[in-house]
C-alpha cells in the first residue's frame, strides 16, 4: 500500500503542462514568434536559393533548417516562466518527483512544435511543393523528430537557463547535439518530397535512428534532470 505523500506523477505532470499551455494561450509568448519566423524564413529561402519550387533533398533541407531554428526560439523560452517568476523554487518545495518537470516541459515543447508544424508545413507546401502526397508519411517523421527536439531541447534549456549567456548557450550547445537528429530527419524527408512522388528508400532505417536518438535523450534527460534542479 502506498503511503507516499508525494503527488502522483501523472497528476503533477498534467498540472504543469496545463499551466504552461494556459499561460501560452493567454500571453502568446512563443508560438506566434516561432510561426512568423518560420514563414519569413521561407521567403528568405525563396530568394536566397533563387527558386520557386523545391523537391527532394533541397526541400527537405529547407523545411528542416527552418523548423530547427524556429524550435530554437521556442526552446530558449521554455523555462522562462520558471526563471522569471521563481517557479524553480516553487517546484523544489513541492512534493513531486524532480523528473516531472522535465517530462512536463518536454511535453509542452512537443506540443508547441506540433502546433508550429501544423501551421508551417502546409505553408511550406503551398510555397514550394508541387507534389503533396509525401506530406502524409511526413507526419511520422515530424512526430519522431519532435520527440527528440523536445527531450534534448528541454535538457539544454535547463542547463542554460541559470547561466549568464543563456540565449547564446542554447543554440551553441543544441546545434552539434541535434546533428544526428537532423541527418535522420532530412534523410527520411528528402525521399518523401521527391518530385515524382514519395519513395521509401531507407525510410525504416532513418526512423530507427530517430527512435534510437529519442530513446537515448529521453532517458539521459530524465536521469540527469534532478541534478540540474539542485540549488
Amino acid at each position: 500500500m502506498k503511503t507516499t505523500r508525494m503527488t502522483p506523477f501523472g497528476l503533477a505532470l498534467g498540472a504543469i503542462v496545463l499551466k504552461d499551455l494556459r499561460t501560452e494561450l493567454r500571453t502568446m509568448r512563443s508560438l506566434p514568434a516561432m510561426v512568423l519566423f518560420a514563414v519569413t524564413t521561407f521567403v528568405i529561402f525563396r530568394f536566397g536559393l533563387d527558386r520557386t519550387a523545391l523537391s527532394g533533398s533541397l526541400a527537405s533541407g529547407v523545411i528542416w533548417t527552418t523548423l530547427l531554428f524556429a524550435a530554437v526560439l521556442g526552446i530558449n523560452r521554455i523555462f522562462l516562466p520558471e526563471r522569471e517568476e521563481g517557479g524553480f523554487d516553487a517546484f523544489r518545495l513541492a512534493p513531486v518527483d524532480r523528473p516531472v518537470l522535465f517530462v512536463a516541459k518536454a511535453t509542452v515543447l512537443f506540443l508547441y512544435l506540433a502546433v508550429l508544424e501544423v501551421i508551417v508545413v502546409p505553408v511550406f507546401a503551398l510555397f514550394f511543393l508541387q507534389e503533396w502526397s509525401g506530406l502524409a508519411p511526413l507526419i511520422v517523421v515530424l512526430l519522431a523528430t519532435n520527440l527528440g527536439f523536445a527531450a534534448l531541447g528541454t535538457l539544454i534549456s535547463s542547463m542554460a537557463v541559470n547561466s549568464r549567456a543563456r540565449d547564446l548557450l542554447v543554440p551553441l550547445l543544441l546545434l552539434p547535439l541535434v546533428v544526428p537528429l537532423m541527418i535522420a530527419a532530412t534523410g527520411a524527408t528528402s525521399h518523401l518530397l521527391d518530385a515524382g512522388g514519395p519513395s521509401y528508400d531507407k525510410f525504416g532505417t532513418w526512423l530507427l535512428v530517430l527512435g534510437l536518438y529519442d530513446g537515448i535523450f529521453c532517458l539521459v534527460g530524465y536521469a540527469v534532470f534532478e541534478f540540474l534542479l539542485e540549488d
Partner: protein
C-alpha cells in the same frame, strides 16, 4: 592523484611512441594502393580513437561526480575532455592533411568519420563557454558533469548517424583500410595506438598534478594571509577561473 610514477609513465609513453613510429617509417611495408601517404594513418587514427575514448571517459567521470559529489571526479572530467579536445585538434589537422594528399582537398564531406569527428569536436568546444557561463562553483561542476554525460552518450550515436548518411557509391573510405589489414600493419598500428593512449594518460596526469599543486598553493596562500603574513600585493587571481581547482578538502 599524485605525481608518483609520472616519470616512469612519461618515459614509457615516449618509448612506445618512438618504437611505434620507428616501425612506421623503417619496418612496416608500404601500402600498395595509397603509397607513402598511408603512413599518416598510423598517426591520425590513434589520435582520433584516443580522443573519442577520452570524451566518453570524461562522461563517465561526470557520472561518477554526480553520484559521489566528489570534486575530484569533476576535475578528472574536465581534464579528460580538455586533453581530448587537444588531441581532437591534432586529429582534425592530420586528417585534413591526409585528405589533401588523398583527394586533393583539405576538407571532404564524403568522409563520414572525419565529419562525425568534427561534430563531436565542435560540441566539446562548447564545453568551455558553457562552464564559464555558470558562476556558482558547485553548480558549474554539476552542470558540467551533465554536459559530459550527455555529450558522451552522443558520441556513438553521432558516428552511427553520419555513417548512415553516406552515399554508398563513394569509392574508397579511409576507415575500410582497417579491415583486412595485413598483420604487420595491424601490429604497427596497435603499437602506435598504445603509445597515443599512454601519451594521453601522461598528459592527463600532468595536468591534474598541476591543478592539484596550484590548488594547494592557493590554499597555503590564503592560510598565510589569514594569519597576517604576506605583503600588501593582491593575489594573482584576476578574473574567474573556469577550470576546477583541486584543493585538499
Amino acid at each position: 592523484m599524485s605525481g608518483r610514477g609520472l616519470k616512469q609513465l612519461s618515459i614509457l609513453a615516449a618509448l612506445v611512441l618512438l618504437a611505434g613510429y620507428a616501425l612506421v617509417f623503417f619496418w612496416v611495408p608500404m601500402d600498395a594502393l595509397e603509397g607513402f601517404r598511408q603512413k599518416v594513418f598510423y598517426l591520425h587514427v590513434p589520435l582520433a580513437i584516443v580522443s573519442l575514448c577520452g570524451f566518453v571517459a570524461g562522461g563517465v567521470e561526470g557520472f561518477r561526480h554526480l553520484r559521489t559529489d566528489d570534486r575530484r571526479h569533476d576535475a578528472n572530467s574536465y581534464v579528460f575532455i580538455h586533453i581530448s579536445v587537444v588531441f581532437g585538434v591534432a586529429t582534425l589537422i592530420t586528417g585534413m592533411l591526409w585528405a589533401k594528399a588523398s583527394w586533393g582537398h583539405y576538407w571532404v564531406w564524403d568522409e563520414p568519420t572525419l565529419v562525425s569527428f568534427l561534430i563531436v569536436f565542435l560540441l566539446y568546444c562548447t564545453y568551455y563557454p558553457f562552464r564559464y557561463a555558470i558562476e556558482d562553483r558547485d553548480r558549474q561542476a554539476r552542470y558540467a558533469s551533465v554536459f559530459a554525460i550527455t555529450a558522451g552518450a552522443f558520441v556513438p550515436l553521432n558516428f552511427m548517424a553520419v555513417r548512415m548518411a553516406q552515399s554508398l557509391i563513394h569509392p574508397r573510405v579511409f576507415a575500410t583500410s582497417e579491415g583486412g589489414l595485413p598483420a604487420s600493419m595491424m601490429f604497427t598500428f596497435l603499437v602506435c595506438l598504445v603509445g597515443m593512449a599512454l601519451l594521453w594518460v601522461t598528459l592527463v596526469k600532468l595536468e591534474l598534478l598541476g591543478k592539484q599543486t596550484s590548488g594547494q598553493v592557493s590554499k597555503l596562500r590564503r592560510a598565510l594571509e589569514a594569519e597576517g603574513y604576506g605583503n600588501d600585493e593582491p593575489t594573482a587571481t584576476v578574473g574567474r577561473r573556469i577550470a576546477p581547482n583541486l584543493e585538499a578538502q
